[in-house]
């Protein structure tokens, strides 16, 4: 435990080895499959080809990709619009109460994803709670088909990832030096202008972190479209799933996975840049 040069590496070695073997190598392997042809019976033909990547750009699949991106983007925007006021309200609550509020905002995030999605199936079902309530308010028409719609998919995604966005935004808001907001008031800005000129710009790194997270997880999601979209809304995640488990076209599935990873890396990079640009505040807050 003293600071010598080899001990840290020795300590880290087993974990690093595990991650290298069971994450890095598999990812590289599946990536390499993207460059091979699909065998006649669904196996791999080890012939180099770029055809799989060309197929990702094929209008049929590109449309699914763009559609997923649109759904993910809508989800991200809605999640941020709901999460920001919530995170702001928590950051303004009495210091003692903040950890409790935050804990209960994040708690659903750690419970089972399937169950959280299932809860919405119960609510949105034709026989579900919402239709029931409408009926008890005197609605007599056909029950609304709320389930198996794009709106249902977006609602489910927002619901599932909202806690994380609240957490990300709260963590930047709570690290802001409250004297910055006071300084703005002192210099003559009212509460509204203080919010838009000081608080909001300084909390953008948290918004970006939460947003990227929601986007990446939404675009690659396959459970929510399968359950709440009833399989009618193909998203990239479903497409990957199909290639591996039903169509047995692993090389193409691998190419789709690679496209997802690239999207993720690009977004993480953009987010890191955005955070670095606004970096002053974290240091200022710690001072």
């Amino acid at each position: 435990m003293s600071f010598n040069a080899t001990r840290p590496n020795l300590l880290a070695a087993p974990g690093v080895a595990w991650l290298a073997t069971f994450m890095v190598v598999p990812c590289l392997l599946v990536l390499s499959y993207a460059f091979f042809q699909r065998g006649v019976w669904g196996g791999i033909e080890y012939t180099f080809t770029l055809e799989n990547f060309a197929r990702v750009a094929d209008p049929l699949y590109a449309k699914i990709f763009l559609n997923s991106a649109r759904i993910a983007l809508t989800t991200t925007a809605i999640a941020i619009l709901i999460a920001y006021p919530a995170a702001y309200a928590i950051s303004r609550a009495p210091r003692m109460r903040q950890p409790i509020l935050l804990f209960f905002a994040v708690l659903p995030f750690w419970s089972n994803y399937l169950i959280r999605t299932y809860a919405w199936m119960v609510l949105l079902n034709r026989e579900g709670l919402i239709n029931n309530m409408l009926r008890s308010f005197g609605y007599t028409g056909e029950p609304l088909s709320l389930l198996y719609t794009e709106a249902a998919v977006i609602t489910g995604l927002v619901y599932n990832y909202l806690p994380f966005v609240i957490l990300a935004i709260y963590s930047t808001l709570s690290r802001l030096n409250p004297e910055l907001m006071e300084a703005s008031r002192d210099l003559g800005a009212g509460p509204v202008r203080t919010f838009f000129r000081v608080t909001l710009p300084l909390s953008l790194p948290g918004v970006a972190a939460g947003g990227v997270f929601v986007f990446v997880l939404s675009i690659g999601n396959f459970v929510t479209p399968a359950l709440l979209g009833g399989g009618r809304f193909q998203m990239v995640g479903n497409l990957v799933y199909d290639q591996f488990l039903t169509a047995n076209d692993w090389p193409f599935g691998a190419a789709l996975g690679a496209a997802l990873i690239v999207t993720m890396i690009v977004l993480l990079f953009v987010q890191a840049r955005a955070t670095a640009r606004a970096s002053g505040e974290s240091r200022e807050a710690q001072a």
């Binding site: 991650l19 309200a89 905002a105």
Partner: protein, 282 residues
């Protein structure tokens, strides 16, 4: 205008205090409304599910009386019990391995002289990589090696992200760990090994346990990676996989009861984990 001010001051403290109180209430109101709405959105679906699990008819249409029959039905469902047992096995082994590896990794990363970007990325990646990608990668890897897949491959796969989460929890504690107490222990004559067990480990223990509980929860709840690495057949099916197959085509009352139990277990584990984290900050 001046008259008003004069009266206010004559009245003195009570008036001023009441005015301030009303102002504070008006200022706090929007925040409370927002929190009420958001918490309503987050907890209403869960509350409905829990309530339905005690509904005798099991249907969301009407309340037909309190009953625990769906819980009894669960106990009689051997598929679910088998899946629950598998889940427990996977979670326990994955937690054990990932707690040890994750803690060591955290110690290694925090005692390094210089931060290594490669190491940071490696430890961060499992938390952000889309799970479908990791799932197909592992499926490809295991089938390329010609391994028979089953619970063991699920465990190996779960350790990947579990250890990253354990590592990040323990590192958070190490970041404000005063390493001079390690030096003090050495200075007082303890060996490196004794120092670790007598000084470092006790200080880190709450965060290690918190990390382990988190890993356990994640493992119990994980679906996609397990789904891809479980192999064919029903023998190595886990609880989330069982739930998925049950809810795939609609609502089943048994799932309501199962969901309530699963959420209760995760919430308890998280409450303990949170409490331990809080204790260690003090």
């Amino acid at each position: 205008m001046t008259g008003d001010t004069a009266t206010a001051t004559v009245a003195g403290t009570p008036v001023a205090a009441r005015a301030a109180g009303a102002g504070a209430f008006r200022r706090k109101l929007p925040g409370r409304v927002v929190l009420l709405l958001v918490f309503g959105f987050l907890y209403l679906p869960i509350a409905v599910l829990v309530m339905l699990s005690f509904n005798d008819s099991g249907l969301p249409t009407a309340w037909s009386g309190f009953s625990t029959r769906w819980y009894s039905a669960l106990l009689g469902n051997s598929d679910i019990l088998h899946a629950a047992w598998n889940t427990l096995v996977v979670a326990i082994f994955a937690t054990l391995v990932s707690t040890i590896l994750g803690t060591l990794l955290a110690l290694g990363m925090e005692t390094r002289r210089r931060k290594s970007n490669g190491l940071e990325a490696l430890a961060f990646a499992p938390m952000v990589i889309p799970d479908i990608v990791l799932a197909v990668a592992l499926l490809t890897f295991f089938s390329r090696l010609g391994l028979t897949m089953g619970l063991h491959t699920i465990i190996v796969s779960h350790v990947v992200f579990d250890l990253a989460f354990v590592c990040s929890v323990v590192r958070a504690r190490l970041k404000n760990f005063d390493f001079s107490i390690v030096e003090a222990s050495r200075d007082l004559g303890a060996s490196g090994w004794t120092t670790f067990w007598r000084v470092t480990f006790p200080v880190l223990l709450p965060s290690i346990v918190a990390g382990a509980l988190l890993a356990f929860t994640l493992s119990v709840d994980e679906f996609i990676i397990a789904f891809f690495t479980a192999g064919a057949g029903r023998s190595s099916i886990t609880l989330p996989m069982q739930i998925y197959s049950m809810i795939r085509f609609g609502i089943t009352p048994e799932v309501n009861a199962l969901a309530t139990i699963v959420m209760g277990v995760s919430a308890t584990a998280l409450l303990i984990s949170q409490w331990l984290n809080k204790e260690q900050v003090r």
